[in-house]
């Protein structure tokens, strides 16, 4: 499949420092989210806990459980989403602008493949990178929570996180990647693409602020609804991207 060949080629072209970042960035995600979770046990965190409906918690939940729930299911997911979206867009920024910088874009566009396949090929590497990093982070956090809070009524993995990892993260990652690819196909320098593309995280910031202020409760249903809207947007952007490439250089 030509799209896979492009993704393989892109992977081989990744500079060494970027391959190292594939380890560093999930490590950073794990560190930040673990900090959220472990700070849940502090007395300050429990005292400052916003009022949450009791129906959210299993019977017999302690203040520590409530604090852990708040950190794990309300604070951490938007932050996680933000990082999972930012990681792949740095890769996607290079997709076309980098080819243009290296004078290989003309050759790539002269290959006998549909614009949609080319766009898909350029999507695969950053998307797999973002999803892979998220999955590793999720697994590590799951282990940390279960080892550190064995007696808590708050379980991990739970439905919120499963929906987040397997539905919402891919939807947002794809959104970030597609927006970035569109920008990358129209600018001359990867640097410009990164700058403009970073604005992609703005909608996630809304979720983040909504979460920490207690306005938005990130339930599995809300995550699914948001992801559904984002997937729809992804589809439209995929069409736009393919059309944009088919118009040529």
């Amino acid at each position: 499949m030509r799209a896979l060949a492009i993704a393989r080629k892109d992977f081989r072209e990744l500079p060494g420092y970027f391959k190292i970042s594939t380890i560093m960035l999930p490590a950073m995600m794990i560190f930040v989210i673990s900090t959220f979770i472990f700070s849940a046990g502090s007395s300050d965190a429990i005292e400052d806990l916003p009022g949450l409906p009791d129906s959210l918690f299993p019977p017999g939940s302690t203040d520590l459980d409530k604090s852990l729930y708040f950190s794990l299911n309300i604070l951490a997911p938007p932050f996680f989403l933000m990082l999972a979206t930012l990681l792949p867009i740095t890769l996607a920024a290079d997709a076309f602008a980098g080819e243009r910088e290296r004078k290989t874009l003309e050759t790539l566009l002269a290959l006998p493949m549909r614009s949609r396949d080319l766009f898909l090929g350029k999507t695969l590497l950053p998307l797999s990178y973002g999803f892979g990093a998220s999955l590793v982070t999720f697994l590590v956090i799951t282990i940390l929570v279960n080892v550190s809070f064995p007696d808590s009524t708050i379980t991990m993995p739970n439905l919120t996180w499963l929906v987040l990892i397997f539905v919402t993260v891919p939807a947002f990652s794809l959104l970030g990647v597609l927006i970035q690819l569109l920008i990358s196909s129209r600018v001359d320098r990867t640097y410009f693409a990164v700058q403009i593309g970073s604005l992609t995280i703005l909608p996630i910031l809304v979720l983040f602020i909504g979460g920490i202020t207690g306005i938005l409760l990130l339930s599995p249903a809300l995550l699914l609804i948001v992801a559904g809207g984002v997937f729809l947007l992804d589809y439209i952007l995929m069409q736009l991207g393919s059309d944009s490439l088919s118009r040529g250089l």
Binding site: K9, K103, T104, A110, L111, G248, L249
Partner: protein
């Protein structure tokens, strides 16, 4: 050589905002020929190639390659061509072998044939010893050879070469020219060559088109173009050169007269007017000491055309 047209451009126009880069270009390239597109920088050569190769859409007009329309069937066009852009276009972080393997996969070369094709191309272009080196360690000449090799992985019947020897050392340039000649004569491929190098064009091309400010101003074989511009004689004589020049310039079959150091350069409509010219000069009291027919090179024709 067959006369079947493989590349056809019909009244191609490309406008970029206020600039008309290509303005009504039409030509046909026949199967198996080396067709040269010559012109100064910014004349519209690369834009014309890009339209034919489907990289940009024409504002109006039509281009076809082996019957496939560049606008409605871009994949059909792309499958039958190999394109070598002006700058070496290979992936520098990959090795030569990885580059060729990637292009084999993109052109759907059967897996079982890839190894022999890659070996053959690397050997042909003298790159087999560096097959596992990253391209970023290659010289410009080696990159250009690898670029040319990658245009051939799918054995396309038509090859577009945009300034293929630009910036190469003489040895590498000769190697590329030899390969172009081989591909045309031995493999029967149609070559579309855009170049500034007029000596190269004259030695390789069976026909050339000269493009200036987006318009084709001359088209034909180098020989036809030379004949079309008349025959030039260099005449050295004793006598009143200026007076004789004026008289000669009034003759009906004389296209142009130019006084040059020690003689007169005269363009005639046809070679057959040579004896009449000599007779006229003698009749004006001149004594002809030298009468030489000048051979017009493609460079002479080109420079006259683009001035």
């Amino acid at each position: 050589m067959s006369s079947r047209p493989t590349v056809v451009a019909q009244d191609l126009v490309k406008k970029f905002d206020w600039l008309t880069a290509v303005d009504g270009v039409s030509f046909e390239v026949n199967e198996g020929e080396v067709f040269g597109l010559l012109g100064p920088n910014g004349a519209g050569k690369t834009t014309t190639i890009r339209m034919i190769c489907t990289l940009i859409a024409p504002t109006s007009g039509r281009a076809t390659v082996l019957g496939s329309d560049a606008t409605s069937d871009p994949i059909g066009v792309k499958e039958s061509i190999g394109l070598l852009p002006e700058t070496p276009s290979v992936y520098e972080s990959l090795t030569a072998e990885q580059n060729l393997d990637f292009f084999c996969e993109m052109y759907r070369v059967p897996r079982e044939k890839r190894r022999s094709i890659i070996d053959d191309l690397l050997s042909t272009f003298g790159l087999e010893e560096r097959r596992d080196s990253k391209v970023q360690t290659y010289s410009k000449g080696m990159r250009q050879k690898l670029s040319l090799a990658r245009t051939l992985v799918h054995d396309p019947p038509i090859i577009f070469l945009d300034e293929p020897t630009s910036g190469l050392d003489p040895e590498s340039a000769k190697m590329v020219r030899d390969r172009i000649s081989y591909m045309s004569k031995k493999s029967g491929k149609t070559i579309f060559l855009s170049t500034h190098n007029l000596v190269e064009a004259e030695s390789l091309c069976s026909r050339v088109a000269i493009i200036k400010a987006g318009k084709i101003i001359m088209i034909g074989s180098p020989g036809e173009l030379a004949t079309g511009k008349g025959t030039t004689y260099m005449v050295r004589l004793e006598g009143n050169t200026e007076e004789i020049s004026r008289k000669v310039a009034d003759l009906e079959y004389v296209l142009k007269v130019e006084n040059v150091d020690g003689g007169i350069k005269i363009d005639l409509k046809s070679r057959s007017h040579g004896p009449d010219l000599v007779e006229t000069i003698i009749g004006q009291g001149g004594r002809v000491t030298e009468f030489v027919k000048e051979t017009r090179t493609l460079e002479d024709i080109y420079l006259e055309a683009v001035r």
